[in-house]
Symmetry: C2
Amino acid sequence: MPGEDNVIYIGNKSVMSYVLAVVTQFNNGLSEEVVIKARGRAISRAVDTAEVVKNKFMPGVEVKDIKIGTEVLTGEGGDKANVSSMEITMVTKAKE
Amino acid sequence: MPGEDNVIYIGNKSVMSYVLAVVTQFNNGLSEEVVIKARGRAISRAVDTAEVVKNKFMPGVEVKDIKIGTEVLTGEGGDKANVSSMEITMVTKAKE
């Protein structure tokens, strides 16, 4: 499915490993847009990732959109818990 | 200074205490806009706060804007560290 490859899910690894994933995604030339997704406590790591990409590695990339939401997780016992989610869309800036 | 009162800074307290602060700020009728600010690991708590306000307490309020950035903190010894920051602006929806 096109468009799925450009999503980076943030988990418990170091910020740098996600930065590398985002930079690689942009540099392979297949996508001009990369979406960083995170839930719960990983949300702050998603922001770190976007900021490091933009400030340290790819000055030609900017944050296009940020969305927040709530997802419902259902446990094995059927118990439900709400968890916050976040999506940061990064794009290559238009050439001037 | 007008406009400063409507900023809620997220720290290490429970999400509910910040939810209460935001709801109170809207309900005192002085501001139609409340800004939630957080840095570092408190960023995920800021998202939780915005989501709980919107979904559980104030359906008439929506997220207008989300900004992320990087701040430089200087330690006592002069050492510097970058920390991610976030601002979520919430507004009362326009009456239809």
